[in-house]
């Protein structure tokens, strides 16, 4: 049992990190193996490939001083409570500059119980340029035995001055079989369900797990795709957009609602406000700050939900295009094959390409703060296919 066990299909990256951890823990002075280690790392890879899991495995190995980690450190890192581990991640749309300043300050402490102090920034791509600049000095010359680990989807998501200060390790998209095998082994689902989930999630491990373990998520995905194929008129498209926002909103609400109430109750208790008592004006600022944070989180989870739907749509149109161009690559949404065949015969390849472009535009627009409903409606306008062409 080592920290690297549950990481699927990333043997190359694991070898790099394991060697680095071994070099870092072997002789702290000098040696040929030292160049295997660096003070700042960037892990890039598509969403769901296990970037942050790999980052934490590496952190465990570094802190414990053993390339395979020890049990106590594994538990503490898993709980994110190890004193020598600092994590910066965000549930909002972007990372705040003050949070980065705080983590930079903590980077100059020497490790307390472990061998290294490790600072992990998940979602480093969510740092705006101004925020990234705060990091530069600390990233370039961290104190001895401080290690930075950044995670981002690709190197292009970071500004060049950050890229030049880190050693980059790329993860690859795990194969569908790898993901399915992991689901069978870890979550105990049947091989058929695991294969379908891995395929539909396009090897996104987190998504595949959700699809494999929740039949509701599977049904909802299928219903959304079927409704996208059934768009004939403008009013169909507008209605479909409203439904999608509703689905994504419900999803987001289910995640955040309970947590919001819980956090508020905790905050009130720690401020000494009895349940039901009116909030003293002097404390309103604090509760307001909490509510603002929750609102940011809600925006993010709504956007994430919509983005998942859009990814599903692009897989669908990819399949349609594949049939239209007689490609021989595997169909992702095999369960919907008859509908996809029909869609392929109704429309032309040019139309399908236009739809794919529209999906990309919609994703970019939603990221740029365009009203999600409007962006989806505009996108769905290109999904309309008239029955006349088939007849």
């Amino acid at each position: 049992m080592t920290v690297w066990d549950e990481l699927t299909g990333q043997a190359d990256a694991i070898a790099v990190f394991r060697a680095a951890a071994a070099a870092a823990s072997a002789t702290p002075t000098e040696g040929a193996a030292e160049q295997a280690m660096s003070h700042a790392w960037l892990i890039t890879g598509p969403p769901g490939s296990g970037r942050s899991n790999l980052a934490y495995a590496f952190a465990t190995a570094l802190i414990s001083g053993h390339p395979d980690g020890d049990d106590a450190t594994v538990a503490q890192v898993a709980a994110r409570s190890h004193p020598d581990l600092t994590v910066l991640s965000t549930e909002g749309v972007s990372i705040k500059v003050d949070d980065v300043r705080a983590i930079v300050r903590s980077s100059s402490y020497s490790p307390s119980v472990g061998r290294h102090r490790v600072l992990v920034i998940e979602d480093a791509d969510r740092m705006p340029e101004r925020t990234s600049n705060v990091l530069l000095k600390a990233l370039e010359e961290p104190p001895e035995r401080t290690v930075w680990i950044l995670c981002a989807p690709s190197e292009a998501d970071l500004i060049p001055t950050i890229r030049s200060r880190v050693r980059s390790v790329r993860l690859r998209v795990p194969s569908i079989d790898d993901v399915a095998a992991l689901l069978v082994a870890r979550d105990g689902v049947s091989p058929e369900v695991a294969e379908r989930a891995a395929r539909e999630a396009q090897s996104h491990i987190g998504m595949a797990r959700r699809l494999a373990t929740s039949s509701e998520a599977r049904e909802r995905r299928e219903a959304t795709l079927v409704s996208a194929l059934g768009i004939r008129t403008v009013s169909d498209a507008v209605a479909a957009a409203a439904r999608m926002i509703e689905i994504a909103g419900d999803d987001a609400k289910a995640i955040t609602l309970e947590r919001d109430a819980d956090e508020r109750e905790k905050a009130l208790r720690s401020l000494g406000v009895a349940p039901g008592q009116t909030l003293p004006p002097a404390l309103r600022g604090q509760i307001k700050a909490l509510e603002d944070d929750q609102k940011r989180r809600a925006t993010r989870s709504l956007r994430d939900g919509i983005d998942r739907i859009l990814v599903d749509f692009s897989s669908l149109h990819r399949d349609v295009l594949m049939l239209q161009l007689n490609g021989d690559s595997a169909i992702i949404n095999r369960e919907l094959l008859s509908r996809i065949e029909r869609a392929a015969s109704v429309g032309s390849a040019a139309e399908t390409l236009r739809s794919l472009d529209a999906i990309a535009v919609a994703r970019k627009r939603i990221e740029a703060n365009v009203a999600p409903l409007l962006a989806l409606e505009a996108m769905l306008m290109t999904f309309r296919r008239s029955e006349r062409a088939a007849a």
């Binding site: 403008v234 009013s235 507008v238 627009r365 740029a368 365009v370 409903l373 409007l374 409606e377 309309r384």
Partner: protein
């Protein structure tokens, strides 16, 4: 059933003091000025002060803020002085008052001081309901001045006519009408415009006078711009858009207003049936459906699709994707006024 009949009866029984309009204010031991229209409330309180001041120039005026009320304040202010001059206590923000204020005012109202006039300004809301109910129930022998918002054009027309009548000036009805439509959003502005006309213009005020002072001015909001564009009146829509932007409307809500209207039209497009039936099916009000059906005249499906695409593009543009938000809006108005055929 019993509950339903008793509720209005109870509501009626609680009000046993005269409820007067904003211009009918008269001295009383306690004057409750309620309602959301701040301008009228201020006017009304000012009238009361002017009246009391002419009656007795030694009137002492005290202002109290109920939201930062300290215990004992009211009693200190209302207690009789050596020369027994009349007092006017003006209390603001009663809708945000402290608990002390409620208890102490209730205690004071049991025995109001002589020649002291307590004015309570309540902006609406449930805070201080106990106090309001007590006053409306006749405690302290007060009156209530109701300053409800003037929503209808007819009410505003009446208000403007009253402004001129109060100064004994003659004004042509057509002049009043154009004045009211030019200042339909803000009562204070309408009143200021009336005063301006009275002090500047001589003799009778006609439509020509109004046009000379306020010609070309109109209150436009995003929806008016959208209405003109959707009906295909390109020129009018552009003028309105410019007016809206120069009077401080932000481009983002303008796009949102367009999106809302076009979205409703898209939902209704291609559906058949009565408006009531459609309304329940689409989750809208029947008048919205009827409105959309009227708006849809001359529109095609592809035109709608192009307009929706344009809307998303414009929304991105006004949020920073392009340099000039106003140009983006004007381009959008052009496409929509051509019903997407451009």
């Amino acid at each position: 059933m019993a509950a339903r009949t008793s509720a209005p009866a109870k509501a009626r029984s609680t009000v046993s003091i005269p409820q007067l309009g904003w211009n009918q204010v008269r001295p009383a031991p306690v004057v409750l000025v309620s309602g959301t229209e701040t301008f009228l409330a201020e006017r009304s309180i000012r009238d009361l002060r002017d009246f009391l001041k002419t009656e007795d120039p030694s009137l002492e005026i005290v202002d109290i803020a109920a939201d930062s009320y300290a215990p004992g304040e009211l009693l200190t202010m209302a207690s009789p002085s050596l020369f027994a001059e009349p007092r006017l206590l003006r209390v603001s923000n009663v809708e945000k008052c402290t608990d002390d204020f409620i208890t102490e005012t209730l205690a004071y109202l049991q025995e109001p001081a002589d020649s002291t006039f307590l004015v309570l300004r309540h902006n609406g809301g449930v805070r201080g309901k106990k106090l309001l109910d007590a006053i409306r129930g006749g405690l302290g022998g007060g009156i209530e001045i109701v300053c409800a918002e003037l929503k209808k054009d007819a009410e505003k027309y009446e208000f403007a006519a009253g402004e001129f009548a109060a100064k004994g000036r003659r004004v042509a009805p057509s002049a009043l009408r154009s004045l009211v439509s030019a200042f339909s959003d803000d009562l204070a502005e309408l009143s200021a415009a009336c005063q301006q006309l009275m002090s500047d213009a001589s003799a009778e005020i006609t439509e020509a006078t109004v046009d000379r002072y306020y010609g070309g001015r109109m209150e436009v909001n995003a929806f008016k711009v959208a209405d003109a564009a959707i009906a295909g009146r390109h020129g009018e829509a552009l003028t309105n858009l410019r007016q809206a932007i120069s009077s401080g409307e932000d481009p983002v809500p303008i796009v949102a207003a367009f999106a809302m209207k076009i979205r409703t039209m898209a939902k209704v497009f291609g559906t058949r049936g009565g408006s009531g039936q459609l309304a329940s099916k689409l989750g809208m009000a029947p008048w919205q459906v009827e409105r959309a059906q009227r708006d849809l005249q001359g529109w095609t499906e592809d035109g709608l699709a192009r307009c929706i695409t344009m809307l998303a593009e414009t929304d991105a543009a006004v949020k920073g994707a392009e340099r000039d938000p106003v140009f983006a809006l004007e381009r959008m108005v052009g496409v929509i006024a051509a019903r997407g055929r451009a």
